[in-house]
Amino acid sequence: MAKFQSLKEAVADNLRDGDTVAFEGFTHLIPHAAAHEVIRQGIKDLTLIRMTPDIIYDQLIGMGLAKKVVFSYAGNPGVGLLRRMRDAIENKWPRAIETVEHSHAAMANAYEAGAAGLPCAVFRGYRGAGLKEVNPAIKSVVCPFTGEELAAVPAHRPDVTFIHAQKASRRGDVLIEGIIGVQKEAVLAAKRAVVTVEEIVDDFNDLHPNLCVLPHWTVTSLVHVPGGAHPSYTHGYYSRDNASYLEWDKISADRDLFTQWMKANVLDVGPDVFASRVKGL
């Protein structure tokens, strides 16, 4: 049953050192505020799952909180590379990280299988691809009807999933609109789910019946964090702050600059700054 909490409580109650955690959002609705709270609390030795690691994982990795990253595209979307993640992989700074690399199709299927309670995902993938030579978590099953060899990967079952969404009702039901990504699957695949939202509304009585809604009993903690996706965006609320994505390329290029920026913009502030960051977007 969903509990309304402060972000500080929600993170402290749900995420522990050593946990496997997914922060999802496909360009849209990336839970930046939640990731920053994790950084402030210094929760470490995390196994991070995410299709597109993006800025938030660059930050978590750069702060030394990740021991392993499970991913399918490690880029700053539309800008370039993830420089903190590269520095960790290439130079072990600030610590070495293990990587488990998949394709998008495998990651999406692995979340789907997790949501569906299955031990593994079966799909037609990785044919001729190099990843299956270097990732032992890529195996295969044979179709018992046609003999075709299909790819199999373990289902994602994170300890915690963090997502950001448009609205929660007072009862704790959650509405996700627009580019919905893999968030529903990531929540349903997880043991615990923390959802930050732009807005809390009385009820969902007037919604179209076929929208992407998570019932309150699938969510552990709910937190009201307006602007909580910035510099990602929230469809219907504010636009993507593309300039911040471009800026990140410079900040993340330099270890010292990164460290200073994290102190000023993450460690020394709280979730309330997000509302002001999206003003005018």
Binding site: M85, R86, G128, L131, V134
Partner: protein
């Protein structure tokens, strides 16, 4: 500025756009593919269906997205589905006619590396990785590749098989049980290349205006094969060029804006 002056990049994008038709359903990557697909949509292929892996089906963005999941894509789409559905029903379901891929490294058989330079476990450079590419390369009916020519990119041997093209050539796809066509067109800033029907080696079939065979060879890491008859790519038309430039100007304006712009 006269429209007859154009850059190699513009020629590349426009040549790619011409390869698309009204009936195509394209899985679009960011960058040159996105520009090419939208130029096609805004010129000769108004009914083309553009799909971005973020789940947006039938998009018609007014500006090019910076990321694969920009809000504009969803707002102009016929519908937006979840990412698992996108990869299961739409890509794996065999409903995409053209998949567009870029490459950090490419070999003569259309195999692509966007994963690492050097050894996978101890990379010299860690690149972003494959994203959707491994399955785009095998599930789409055909694959178009766009990249700027450079010996660093067009190499004899790629460091990692991010996505499979024609493998070692010949019937290698068929031998792996892959029944889609794979790379059927390579569009560079200098030329158009198509796989040889037998060997599947990319062969120059058309060079862009003013480009020489020497230029094509100098910027390519393998010994280039030219078709028996090499065409000259028709230069961009005024409509193509203004459409592309207008699109890029709108895009620039939309994305460079700081807060509140």
């Amino acid at each position: 500025m006269t429209v007859s002056a154009f850059t190699p990049n513009e020629m590349m994008t426009i040549a790619a756009s011409r390869a698309l038709s009204n009936d195509d359903v394209c899985f679009v990557g960011i960058g040159a593919p996105s520009a090419a697909c939208n130029v096609a949509r805004l010129t000769h292929a108004p009914d083309i269906t553009l799909i971005y892996e973020s789940g947006t089906i039938g998009t018609a963005p007014d500006v090019l997205p910076l990321s694969i999941g920009d809000g504009e894509l969803c707002e102009t789409a016929l519908t937006t589905v979840s990412v698992p559905e996108m990869f299961r029903y739409w890509l794996q379901g065999g409903r995409i006619s053209i998949g567009f891929l870029g490459a950090a490294q490419l070999d003569r058989f259309g195999n692509i590396n966007t994963t690492v330079i050097g050894d996978y476990h101890h990379p010299k450079v860690r690149l972003p990785g494959g994203g959707g590419a491994p399955e785009i390369a095998t599930s789409c009916k055909e694959v178009f590749i766009t990249m700027k020519q450079a010996t660093r990119g067009m190499v004899e041997k790629i460091d990692f098989y991010t996505s499979f093209g024609h493998g070692d050539g010949g019937d290698h796809r068929k031998r792996l049980g892959i029944d889609t066509k794979g790379p059927t067109l390579l569009i560079t800033d200098l030329a158009l290349w198509k796989p040889d029907p037998e060997s599947k080696e990319f062969t120059v079939v058309s060079m862009h205006p003013g480009v020489t065979r020497e230029q094509v060879q100098e910027t390519c890491g393998w010994r280039v094969r030219f078709a028996e008859r090499v065409e000259e790519t028709p230069p961009p038309t005024a409509l193509e060029l203004t459409t592309l430039r207008d699109l890029q100007a709108r895009t620039e304006g939309a994305h460079s804006g700081k807060k509140g712009a």
